[in-house]
Each structure stands twice: as C-alpha cells, then as structure tokens.
C-alpha cells in the first residue's frame, strides 16, 4: 500500500521533473514572452466537449495570463465565415477551418498572415506531421477511419475499406460522409482504396473509378452522414454495422460506454487549422492567442479532455502514455495511416474549379442519376 502511494508520488515528481526539465531547455523568458494585453479576442468555440477542452486548456488560462478576454463563439459554416469576411465584418478574430478548405481562403485573400513574433521557436519547429504556414497554424489532427459495431464483429472485424465495401463478409448497412463535403469526408479516397488503389498512389484521384466503386457500395448505404455525430450514433442505434467516422467522436462515445470498434489501417489523417480572418479588429490579440495555444503544455492539457492529436509534437512528451496511445498521430497509429493531400483538393483545373468544387458537381450528378 505504502509502496503504491510512494510509486505514485515518485511518478508525480518524475512528471514534474520532466516538466521542469522541459522548461529549463527553453529559458523562462521564452514562456513569458506573451505580454499582457487589453481588450478581447473572438474565437471559434466548437461546442460540446471540444469547446469544453478549448475553454480549459486555452481560453481560461490565456485570459489569466494576458488579461485579454476570450469571447467564444459557436460554429458557422465555412461559407458563412467567407461571406462575413467579404462583407468586412469577420465573424471571428481567430477561427478554425478544415485544412482542406484553408487554401481557398488563402487564394481569395480572406486571411491575415500570421505574425509569429509571440511564438516560441521550439514550439514552431515541433509542428509535425503538419507544419505551420504563412496563414495557418494547425489546430488539431484527427483521423477519418473505419469504425464498426464491436458488439457484432468480435473476432473478425473490418480492417480495410475493401472490408467495409464487402457486405457478404461483414453483414449490415453502411454509412460514409456525403460527397458534398468533398475533402472533409474522405469518401472518395475510401472508395478508391476499397477498389484496390494503394494509399500511396491515390492522388490525383481517379473520379470515374471512385464513382464506380461508390456505385457498388451505394445499395448498402443506409444514408450519407453530414455531421460528425451521426456515424457513431448510427452504430450505437444499431442502424449500421460499419462505416467511416472521426476518431475523436468514436473515442468519446467509447469513454462513455459505447462499443464502437475501429482500425487505424487505411485511416486518413486530416487536420483543422487556426486562421486569423482579414478585417479583424483584434489581430494582435489573435496572434497572442495562437502563440499561447501552440505551447506544448497547453496542447497536452487539451488532449486530456478530447482525443484530437496535438499538432505540436512536443506535447506528446507531456501526455500519459496510455492516453497518447489513443491519439491518431501516435507512432503505431501513424504508420498505418496517410495524410490527406489537401494540395490536390485545392488544385484548380482547366475549367477554373478546384477539385473540392469538382467533387461536389460530380457528386450531385451521380446522386441524381445523371452521371
């Protein structure tokens, strides 16, 4: 008994020591670099446990350290955010947009370049596998992967997109994200992998082959999901037995007692990124906030509350190993997955449309039977 207590204490000191060591590598001024400020900064919240994790790890400590008030605002879809910038009244000062949609914001001149002056160099260098950009600071990394009903498939479970397509072997209905979400949903990549394309040779996507593959799975699709909550909910409600889902939602549901199985194999690493919207009145506060949220210890704290991977890889050192194991960028998970190619998704073709738009147009044609 005493032993256990002592071991715990030791572990505690070890952790503290580790933290102290980590701090000593980067001299104190580096951490105290963000000067006090005034006023406010309007930040995207995200709602639910995601918003809660942000509040605990970023919003409240940032307010405490800098005196700048964080105003957390709920989600508006990217189109409405775009409209707000065009209208000269940005909806937020700092927001998070899907990595696959960020390049069009850059292209259309809707973002402010990030001032990295307040950032700690060590934090900046540690962003992996996604680097910071001129306009973007990765916020979370997550996986779009195969999820299934673990109470139904116990010994032999779907382990590839081909398995998801195979309803002979794994009976039951399916759900994938609607193709109208283009890059966000990973549905086109999944279709190609199900048809035997090597994940390393996916891009540029072969649209015809993808839609042929989708036509094969369509009779077994219960519905195309549109929000992250839907797929896990359909598994919980036993409406589908397998499909695509985001890891954060699946893990959260499992922590609350759901039995959703998943595999990292052929999972797609996706990311969301922080951006500062053009026309903001609080740019300086926004940069301070981004520097604060980029710190390893803050990202580690964030991971305690939700299982989205920290883009600052130094945060991993501060996350308990049992928890780190569940993150999509942990070494074992990382090697089974690939990073979705957002560059491809934003490449503009001969008709002046980016692949994100091409996918939507083709999807509409396919779904209406006109393709």
């Amino acid at each position: 008994m005493v032993d256990v207590v002592r071991r715990k204490l030791l572990r505690g000191t070890a952790l503290a020591g580790g933290l102290a060591a980590a701090r000593s590598l980067f001299p104190a001024p580096a951490l105290a670099q963000i000067p006090k400020g005034t006023g406010e900064v309007v930040v995207y919240d995200g709602g639910g446990s995601w918003g809660e994790a942000k509040r605990i790890a970023y919003f409240e400590p940032f307010e405490k350290e800098t005196g700048i008030k964080v105003i957390a605002q709920p989600r508006t879809d990217t189109g409405a955010v775009r409209a707000s910038v065009l209208a000269g009244a940005p909806r937020y000062d700092v927001t998070i947009i899907p990595g696959g949609k960020a390049p069009t914001f850059e292209r259309d001149n809707l973002l402010l370049p990030i001032d990295y002056g307040y950032f700690d160099k060590a934090d900046l260098d540690a962003f992996s596998p996604v680097k910071v950009g001129k306009f973007t600071v990765p916020a979370i990394i997550y996986s779009l992967f195969i999820a299934y009903d673990a109470s139904k498939f116990t010994s032999d479970a779907p382990n590839s997109w081909a398995d998801v397509w195979d309803t002979q072997k794994f009976a039951g209905r399916r759900s994938l994200m609607a193709g109208t979400w283009a890059s966000d949903g990973g549905t086109f990549e999944a279709a190609l992998m199900a048809d035997g394309v090597d994940p390393a040779k996916l891009y540029p996507l072969d649209w015809d082959r993808a839609f042929k593959s989708l036509s094969r799975v369509k009779p077994n699709i219960l519905k195309w999901w549109n929000t992250g909550a839907e797929a896990p909910q359909m598994i919980i409600d036993k409406l589908i037995t397998a499909g695509s889902a985001w890891n954060g939602r699946v893990s959260a549901a499992n922590e609350q007692g759901a039995k959703i199985g998943y595999t990292w194999n052929q999972g797609m690493l996706q990311y969301d990124t922080w951006v500062v919207l053009k026309g903001t009145k609080n740019a300086d506060n926004a940069f301070k906030f981004l520097a604060f949220s980029a710190r390893a210890e803050n990202q580690a704290k964030f991971v305690q509350h939700i299982l989205y991977a920290p883009p600052n890889s130094r945060a991993f050192d501060l996350v308990p190993s049992e928890r780190a194991k569940l993150l999509p960028t942990s070494p074992e998970a990382r090697k089974l997955q690939f990073v979705q190619d957002y560059e491809f998704w934003n490449t503009v073709g001969a008709n002046g449309k980016a692949n994100n738009e091409v996918a939507v147009a083709q999807w509409e044609r396919w779904i209406s039977g006109a393709r």
Partner: protein, 598 residues
C-alpha cells in the same frame, strides 16, 4: 349651389381619408418588409446576374449546362407533390372531423395539429429516427402483433422523408380546410339528405365542392413551402435524397459559391412566385368575405376577389363520375373510417413527443432510447452552462421582442386587409404571407448581403428585423382568421351608443380579440425562437441565439441536452397557453363566435 360647393370638397376629404386609413395601417409592415425582405431579395436576383461587377449570365449558363440541376429540380417537385397529396388525403378527414367538434374541442385539436411546428426540427427528426428505425417501438409493436415477420424499413428512405415532412406541413393543409369546412352550412347537407340524398352523396355534392377553395389553398401552401425543405430530408432521407434547397444551402454554407447559389435561389424563388401568382385567388381566399353558406354561383361575386375559376368546375366534373361509384361503398364505412383516420393522424402528430420527453430525463451520456435510467442530469448540466443560459436569454428576449413587433405591425395590416377594400389588397396579402414560402436560407443570405458592411451584422437588431419578417406572416394570417370570425354587431352596438371608433377599438374590439392576439404573438415568438438559419449569418459576439449553440453541439455529439431544451420549450408553451386560457376566462363576453353557433 353653395351647399354643393361646400359638400364637394368635404366628400373628397372623407373619401381621401377613407383611402388613407388602410395605407396608414399597412405602412409599418410594408416598410419593414421592404427593408428586410423585398429589397434584399431583389438585390440577390441582381447579384445572380452579375460576375465581378459586370452583367453576366455565367451562373445561369452553368446551371443550364448541368443535367444534375434539372434532375434535382424534378425530384424536388415530385417530392413536394407527393407530400402535398398525402397531406391532403390525411388532412381532409381530420379537418372535417374537427369542423364537427364544438369550438373548445376544435381549438384544442387545432393546437395539437400545430405542435410539430413548435418543436425544434433537430429533436423532431431524431425522434422519428428512433420511432421508425428497424428496432424502434413501431417495428417492435408490429412484430409482436405478428403483422410483419421482419422489420420494415421506414427511415432513411423516402418513407421517412414523407412522414417527417407531412407531420410539419399538415397544419398548412388543415387550417385552410378547417376554415372553409367550418363555414359550410351544415343545414345544406342536411337539406340535401332530407330530400333523399344519401349522406355520402350529400358530402360529394355539397360539402366537397364548397371546400374546394380550402383544398386549393392548402395544396398550394404545402406544395410551395415543401420546395424549400432541406434539414428534414437531409436527416431522414436515404442515400438518394437530394433536393434543390440542399444544393443551395451547400453552395452558401459550405462552398461559399454565392453567385451560383443566388442563381439557383432566384430560379427557385421565381418558380414559387409563378405558382403563387397562378393560384393567387385561392391563396387569398382567406380574405374573401362572402359567407360560404352555399355554392355561390361562380362569377357573381362582388368582392373582386373571387373571379371565375374554371379549374374548380373542371375538377368537380372529373371527380363526379368516379365519386358516384365510390359513394355506395363510402356510405357504409364513412363514419368509423373518418374517425379512425382522424385519430391516426393525431397520433402521428403526437408520437414524437412520446419519445422526446423521456429522452430529456435520460441519465445516459449519449442519446439512446429507451433511456437506461432516469435523472435530471441534463437539466442541471444545462443550468450550469453559462454559454447556453446566455444564448437562451438572448433568444427569449429577441424572439419575444420580435413577437411584439410582429403583432404591432401585423395586426393593423390584418385590419386593413379585412375591413377595407382597395386595389392592392390581394398583392399586399400575398407579399405579407410569402415569407412562409420562400426558403429561409434564401431570405437569410439576401439579408446578409444587404446588411453587409453595416454594423447590423452581429447586432441584435438584425435578429429583431429577421425574426419579425418570418414571424409577421403568422400574425397576419392568425389575425385575419380572428377578425373574420369576429362578430361586428358588438362594435356597431358600441358605435350606436355614441362610442367613437378609437374608443370602440380600445374597449370592445381589442379586448374581444385578445385571445387571437395572444395566439398570433405565440406563433411569431416560436418561429423566431426556433430559427437556426438566420443565426448562421447574423450572429456575433453579442448576439448568439440558442439554436446556434444547439447546432454546434449536435454537429459533433448528440446528447440528451437538446431534448431538455425541447421539454423546456413545451413547458414555456404550456405556460403561454395557460396564460391565454386565463385571458380567455377573465375577460367577459368572450368568443362571440360561440354565440353565433350555439
């Protein structure tokens, strides 16, 4: 001579004043609608014709070149038509049965019909998913009864979409039908029967033809507003479900492709306006003040509203042959059949609440039905969340204010439309009820661009404006119905006793109309309170309505929290209704229509 010269200008003056009154009564609502609705929509249409500041048809050419768009439009039209027919088939028996009830029971039944309108679309659709799913209660019941051997697929296909949409659209069909059926003089059918006509024949020859205006009006309203649906089909539909409003909202909300969205919205809106104009006389039937006691000979109307309308005749003629054959069979089963249909319809409307209420008291961390246990954890979690409470108080305040505004501008408008005759009567009425039909996402995006650059974005006033625009049509419709039932002899009595018009208004008319005013305000409040589309465009740090927070939560995790909101909403509603009953009870001389039909 001198007399005449004095009289002439005076007569001119009074005539001018009589003309001025409806103008003054309509002025506030017309101003609000112009600023917040007509001008922005016109700008949107203009925008769809422009590209980078120059005139261009590029968006339309793109649409014309897309075979998908035509298919999606056709599919949308087919869905709207199917929903309309189903609504008609089940609403008619219900409206008929309600029209046979005593007024108090009828009011209660009409309230039940509107209940689906009063719950958030998100919670309502989730309740349907639970109810209709293969292992849901309905399938379980059928399996146990041995009616089916394996579960029916009732959700995530067109059946689910039909059920979900019919439930919401039913009030739009029941109300116009009820309005005409309640006006059909029962003694006519009795007279026909006493002259030897079998009841069904009397129904087919007397009641049905006289209710045709209600049928047309209801069908048009349901059809047109179905064209703009997207959340229900998206949540309840199967893999093939894709409608035009989904395409528009996708372009607006996700792609940010405003040119093409504006073009598609313009096409949808022009379709709606065209259908609306074709059937304008029937939609404006509510304004018609002839007593519908009999089949008035077509074309003799003096009100100017009911002109000749041959389709009705043709329809009746077409229906006549088969109807005679049907009537033998119908006579036998008519009574029980009618009540079974009416009861089943009411059940359809209430069922989702049977699911929602227990969900709110669930102790599970996620949505699951039936709940594994019961607790108040989701109530307390809501009450501890300051963000939600702030949003709740914002929504209550601004939806409340907008409800008052809607009443303030909608009631004078209803008076003008019912009590005065002027050339623009029908067009103004159609304009005022059109926000019921134009898809909200279209109104919202047009308003957004109209307000863009002004400080109104993110300002609560923008919400007051938009909630008023979507709420006022309800106050107008409800008030018109109330004013038409209103027994004017009381006003005349007051006037004959020397009361001035304003005093009569204050002491007689308004007190008598108080319950109607309350209903009008409740409708306007609910429409604003439940709005999610305008919030997406107009919210800001100091203006965050509750449904925005709900959407945010629902996107990544569905928890019983939203059911709690639904239950709180029902409680608020119940309180409002109790208040209305209370008002009813304390003001004496209430419900003149009861005096008319003892």
């Amino acid at each position: 001579m001198a007399d005449a010269s004095v009289a002439m200008p005076r007569r001119g003056y009074t005539l001018g004043r009589a003309r001025l009154v409806p103008v003054l009564l309509l002025l506030p609502i017309v101003i609000v609608f112009s600023v917040g609705y007509v001008v922005p929509l016109a700008q949107l249409v203009l925008k769809s014709l422009q590209l980078d500041g120059a005139w261009s048809l590029k968006s339309y050419i793109e649409i014309a070149n897309s075979p998908a768009f035509l298919w999606i439009v056709l599919r949308t039209l087919a869905l709207a038509a199917t929903v309309t027919i189903i609504c008609l088939l089940i609403a008619y028996p219900l409206a008929y049965a309600i029209s046979k009830c005593p007024p108090r029971a009828a009011a209660l039944l009409l309230l039940i019909v509107t209940l689906p309108y009063l719950t958030s679309v998100l919670i309502r659709t989730y309740a349907w998913i639970v109810l209709l799913s293969p292992n849901g209660p309905i399938n379980q019941l059928f399996l146990r009864l041995g009616l089916i051997s394996e579960p029916l697929q009732m959700v995530f296909n067109s059946i689910g979409v039909y059920i979900g949409m019919v439930q919401v659209q039913l009030p739009l069909m029941v109300f116009p039908l009820y309005a005409v059926l309640a006006r059909v003089n029962p003694s006519l059918a009795k007279a026909a029967q006493s002259l030897g006509s079998p009841p069904t024949d009397a129904f087919l020859r007397v009641t049905l033809p006289s209710s045709m205006p209600g049928v047309i009006s209801g069908c048009t309203l349901v059809f047109l507003s179905s064209l703009g649906f997207y959340i229900t089909p998206e949540l309840l539909g199967g893999p093939d479900s894709y409608l035009i409003a989904q395409g528009i909202s996708l372009r607006v909300l996700i792609l940010g492709d405003f040119g093409e969205a504006a073009a598609q919205s313009s096409i949808l809106m022009l379709t709606v306006i065209a259908v609306f104009l074709i059937f304008r006389q029937r939609i404006a039937e509510e304004l018609d003040d002839r007593p519908h006691n009999n089949l008035s000979p077509i074309g003799t109307s003096t009100s100017g509203l009911s002109t000749q309308w041959p389709i009705q005749e043709r329809l009746t003629a077409i229906l006549h042959g088969p109807s005679l054959k049907l009537h033998e069979a119908l006579t036998v089963i008519r009574g029980p059949f009618l009540y079974v249909i009416a009861a089943l319809t009411l059940l359809l409307l209430i069922l989702p609440f049977v699911i929602v209420i227990p969900l709110a008291f669930s102790d599970a961390p996620y949505l699951t039905f039936p709940p594994p246990g019961y607790s108040l954890r989701w109530f307390s979690s809501l009450l501890r969340n300051t963000q939600w409470l702030d949003a709740l108080s914002f929504s209550l305040r601004w939806a409340g204010l907008s409800a008052l505004l809607s009443v303030a501008i909608g009631v004078p408008a209803a008076f003008a439309l019912v009590r005065y005759r002027f050339a623009a009567r029908v067009p103004v009425y159609l304009l005022l009820i059109s926000p019921l039909i134009v898809p909200h996402v279209v109104i919202a995006v047009s308003l957004f661009f109209a307000l863009a650059g002004s400080s109104l974005i993110g300002n609560p006033l923008a919400f007051a404006l938009s909630y008023t625009i979507i709420g006022a049509p309800y106050t107008v419709v409800v008030m018109i119905a109330g004013l038409k039932r209103f027994n004017r002899t009381l006003e005349l009595a007051a006037a004959s006793l020397g009361s001035s018009p304003l005093v009569t208004l204050r002491t007689v008319t308004l007190p008598l109309l108080l319950p109607t005013l309350a209903s009008a305000a409740i409708f306007a409040f609910i429409v604003g309170f439940d709005d999610v589309v305008f919030g997406l465009f107009l919210s800001g740090p100091t203006a965050t309505p509750l449904p925005m927070r709900m959407w945010d939560n629902i996107r990544l995790e569905i928890s019983p929290q939203i059911a709690v909101i639904a239950v709180l909403f029902l409680i608020v509603l119940a309180l409002l209704l109790l208040l209305r009953l209370f008002v009813n009870a304390v003001v004496p001389g209430r419900r003149p229509q009861e005096g008319v039909h003892p």
